[in-house]
């Protein structure tokens, strides 16, 4: 690839977010990788996706629904922003 540079051998995101063994697999010539190594990379990526999906789902459930408004109290004077 034309953008290859000798300075940094490993993709930046990986080194921060992944186990060392996966970083090691990414930093090796693919010719030296067995099918089981490729499967390990795929499993790692799938696990990361599930983790992020789970975190997103948890985050969503904590957010108030647009229908979850305070109960209307008769007699109380409401400002516009309280109602909408």
């Amino acid at each position: 690839m034309s953008q290859t540079t000798p300075a940094l051998p490993i993709a930046n995101t990986l080194s921060e977010a992944s186990p060392t063994s996966i970083s090691d697999l990414f930093s090796r010539d693919v010719e030296g990788l067995a099918d089981s190594d490729i499967d390990l990379i795929i499993s790692h990526l799938r696990a990361n996706r599930e983790r992020i999906s789970a975190a997103e789902a948890a985050g969503r459930s904590l957010k108030p629904s647009k229908f979850a408004r305070p109960k209307f109290e008769p007699g109380k004077v409401y400002e516009d922003e309280e109602l909408f």
């Binding site: 690839m1 940094l8 993709a11 930046n12 995101t13 099918d35 990379i41 996706r49």
Partner: protein, 325 residues
């Protein structure tokens, strides 16, 4: 042209006149004739390669490997492994013994492999789209096309101002069927949100209209439009959306008529040797790569080109897989 390598998509009679036209060339011309002149006729490209272009090409190659593996009878897991292995190989520099390195946090080797795995898990495993089998018995995957466009009103073939034949050329990812209709399948990556506003950019769209026409003209298949798999690529995650981008026969008819007009303009500019700037398009797509040149006084531009750009020919007459510098 002084490139030194012959670009076979151009006329011998009028060397600045393109005869084999793909959607990229046509798109550049529509955007700005001066941009088209610098890129397609003169062959200047910025010295630094666009990471977005590189990432897109690598992702398409990975997907191509997967589709070929599936078409040969392999299951999802084996096809995915083949695609990941091919992508790891294509991002490895054997000379230096190091991987492709990008300083873009969203588009680098890790996010490429991650995007490929998540995309194929999302749309590849139980794909509702069935790859069409062509009349020659081969799956309609990675198809280069080149055909003579025909005026649908007069029935006449498109000719240039020199009287030479005009061709449309390009490359289709895949022709697929879904519920008895047939479509071109294409993948796009973006950093934008995948909402209706994002997909609205494809109607109308030069590339998708030419692809629809190509599916009908070059492969004798009735095509109802494009199925666009859009992938949002960020450093931490991907999002995926699949949308149908329809094209009616009347829309294709209109596009073809407009394109004939644009091609006649292209011919007139080639004859006149004048490629005007469209100074309302300089900010498109994050800024035109030739704006630093066009912003200089005319007498200084050649010096800037020679300093900051290099030559690379774009020859749509060469099918994918053959050399195209």
């Amino acid at each position: 042209m002084d490139i030194g390598v012959i670009n076979h998509s151009f006329s011998i009679q009028l060397p600045s006149l393109q005869l084999v036209v793909d959607s990229t060339s046509l798109g550049e011309f529509k955007t700005c004739p001066r941009k088209y002149y610098y890129r397609m006729i003169e062959g200047w490209v910025p010295k630094s390669t666009s990471v977005h272009l590189t990432f897109g090409i690598l992702l398409h190659q990975g997907r191509e490997t997967y589709e070929h593996a599936k078409a040969s009878g392999l299951n999802h897991e084996d096809s995915l492994r083949a695609a990941v292995r091919a992508s790891l190989a294509s991002t490895w520099d054997k000379e230096t013994g190091r991987p492709w390195w990008s300083n873009n946090p969203d588009k680098n080797r890790y996010t490429l492999i991650r995007t490929l795995v998540h995309y194929l898990d999302t749309f590849g495993r139980d794909d509702r789209l069935q790859t069409v089998i062509l009349s020659n018995g081969k799956p309609a995957i990675e198809l280069s096309f080149k055909f003579v466009p025909v005026d649908l009103n007069s029935g006449e073939e498109f000719k240039s101002v020199t009287g030479e034949q005009i061709y449309f050329s390009g490359h289709l990812d895949r022709i697929v069927s879904l519920e008895e209709n047939q479509y071109i399948s294409d993948v796009k990556t973006t950093s934008s949100a995948l909402n209706s506003y994002y997909f609205s950019r494809y109607s109308p769209d030069n590339q998708f209209s030419m692809y629809t026409l190509a599916g009908m003209a070059a492969f004798q298949t009735q095509i109802s439009g494009i199925i666009c798999d859009a992938i949002k690529v960020k450093a931490e995650f991907n999002k995926f959306e699949r949308q149908l981008i329809p094209r009616t026969p009347d829309q294709i008819h209109e596009w073809l008529g407009d394109t004939k007009y644009y091609l006649s303009l292209m011919g007139r500019m080639a004859e006149a040797g004048r490629w005007p700037q469209n100074d309302k398009a300089c900010h498109f797509y994050g800024g035109c790569p030739y704006r630093p040149v066009c912003s200089r006084t005319p007498g200084a531009r050649q010096t800037w080109l020679e300093a900051d750009y290099t030559k690379s020919i774009w020859d749509p007459s060469i099918a994918r897989g053959e050399e195209n510098g």
